[in-house]
Symmetry: C2
Subunit: 370 residues, 2 copies
């Protein structure tokens, strides 16, 4: 469909369906030249401002005589972005866009903008075999609550009932939830495409909910990761290893996360070298540099253990990310203590654009030990 | 946690995490007496109005000297509702509430309010065995696109590899998508609870995306259901019957839907009596009464076929629903033509409250033919 030919388009309704459907304002309106127009019908509003990952700062929309606000930006590089409209000082979504980013706190709510390029991206769905997503509920005896796991199962899992698979435990960031790596990270699409190209081995991806302390409650420093880690190690991993056909050993477990989850992956993984053969942190929330020697005392006490048992220790961060210095400091700390690792610095900020690329980069390196 | 003791609560953040987190305004604030306060910090807004399934019409919020808008309503009956805030004329979500209802069009976007009662409801999660949710992608050769199925798999499905299960194909309404019956209908929780109580047989629930014509494109009358029905009958059902251990016969297939999906279930089901043993429509979008004889010509041509092959034909609608008259007319049409069926009228409007109850009511009646 040519989405840019018409401003208002009809919603399919049924004669018996009672809800009144206002004429829809098309927003965002992505044109073939990758210029994008944002629109909002708001005759009574006094100021409407656009913020988004494709902009520096905010940009005001302009109102016409009918009360329709609009702003055209771009051309915008092909990517998946999020953005907000601020209407008379209230930051909210674009009410014209059905594609909404949600999480575990309201601060993460945004609208999603997808700008497609001329050729498919590594995270665009292709006509290749598709894995499944599964949601499992488990009772956490350590946290005393019913919790959900999101799980990617590679194509073919149900066919060969004798094969055992490695598992990547993949952690989300603050304000997000266990669906974030699917919904925004597109881990299933990225892995489907890599598998079809023969570039990665098949493995399961288990995405737990990363809060040991609920996100709307205060927590003492380290308490959230301590409680989450206990649940991961004592409940989640045993549950996964009983419910799925997985290879339940060190060489077949990876632990990777982003932001808050990057800090968790490094903290939990590097303090349990007997459990994980692969550890990674993207744009990691690492805490203060002065605490590293204490937080990673076991690791640096005998770096030979880490260097002989870890098949991969991967640290990455975008250079425009507020978390960049912490990642760089952590890499220097590891180097000082002779812990082998990869430190990857790339362009980019604290965004899913960076994390999708990092996942795409490290997936082919996982479980290559044999 | 006592959510009502404090107005602003801290978001868990990491020192290295760069995003600024504004102090959060608690909204909705559900108190033990089931009074609910809605709040919005908006010093520059001139009017904020609440609409919701627990209200008749809109109610204005009031602003205090700090620019904090608020309104207390209730006590509200225990239920799961949706609501919107309209800020200076723009209908949007409650920016303080992380729980957002989304769908396939922006008109469905709302915030979700859950008011719990003293005792668990039939749709509250309980410590019972939990089924899984699975998402499968399939290439639809009839629609020429990659489409997703959401599937509920009952507890124990993976254990007994010899058992075959019946399947309920369950259809969503206009503006929604294949996740609506999970996210808002709680079909997995309702069935987990019924199964644990021994009140229903175990079966799979397959939830396809109900649009044959994309929801933002105009469609000729009947075209959406015709294209969707072709995909369901020729692609989805064969796919499900190859990918899952299901009993692939008439007596083990049910087709039920709500609103637009109710019209689809009746139209497709009652014109394919050889395929479905159980058919149901909730608050159905039925089209004009004058068209019934043509749309259901095969059915009324030989009602004995329907009466001998259909184990259940169930029509339900809330009396406050704009679709009520159409359902009643359809029931009278069936009665006139001596087609046996159940017509259930209950209090309620065009809401998920009604549809959750209907699902809970009919699930125990499904697949009881043996």
């Amino acid at each position: 469909m040519s989405r840019h030919l018409t401003l208002t388009i009809a919603i399919v309704t049924l004669s018996a369906f009672p809800a009144a459907q206002p004429a829809r304002v098309l927003s965002p309106d992505v044109r073939p030249d990758r210029q994008v127009t944002f629109r909002l019908m708001a005759p009574d509003a006094r100021a409407v401002v656009l913020t988004g990952e494709f902009l520096q700062g905010g940009r005001p929309l302009e109102k016409d005589a009918s009360g329709l606000w609009s702003l055209t930006v771009g051309p915008i590089e092909p990517e998946v972005y999020h953005y907000n409209l601020t209407i008379d000082g209230v930051r909210t979504i674009d009410p014209g866009n059905p594609d909404v980013k949600t999480g575990s706190t309201p601060s993460t709510i945004a609208s999603i903008l997808e700008v497609r390029g001329d050729r498919p991206s590594f995270h665009d769905p292709q006509p290749v075999p598709h894995g499944e997503i599964r949601a499992h509920w488990y009772e956490s005896r350590t946290l005393g609550s019913l919790r959900r796991l999101s799980i990617y199962v590679p194509p073919g899992y149900d066919r060969d009932q004798s094969k055992q698979y490695p598992v990547l435990y993949l952690l989300h960031g603050a304000n997000a939830d266990d669906t974030a790596w699917l919904r925004l990270g597109r881990v299933n699409v990225i892995l489907d495409n890599l598998l079809a190209a023969g570039k990665t081995l098949p493995f399961l991806v288990v995405m737990p909910f990363g809060y040991g302390v609920p996100p709307n409650q205060p927590a003492a420093p380290g308490e959230n990761t301590r409680l989450f880690g206990k649940d991961l190690l004592e409940v989640v991993i045993p549950y996964v290893e009983s419910a799925f056909r997985v290879a339940a050993n060190h060489d077949n477990r990876a632990l990777v996360g982003l932001s808050m989850g990057g800090g968790q992956a490094l903290s939990i993984g590097l303090n349990h070298l007997d459990r994980f053969g692969y550890v990674g942190g993207f744009s990691s929330g690492l805490g203060a540099e002065a605490e590293f020697p204490k937080s990673y005392g076991t690791l640096i006490g005998d770096p030979d253990v880490a260097n002989s048992t870890l098949k991969l220790l991967w640290i990455g961060c975008g250079t425009e990310d507020g978390a960049f210095n912490a990642s760089k400091q952590f890499s220097m700390f590891l180097a000082t203590h002779k812990v082998k690792h990869t430190f990857r610095e790339t362009p980019g900020a604290h965004t899913w654009m960076v994390w999708r690329r990092y996942l795409h980069e490290i997936a082919p390196q996982l479980f290559r030990h044999s």
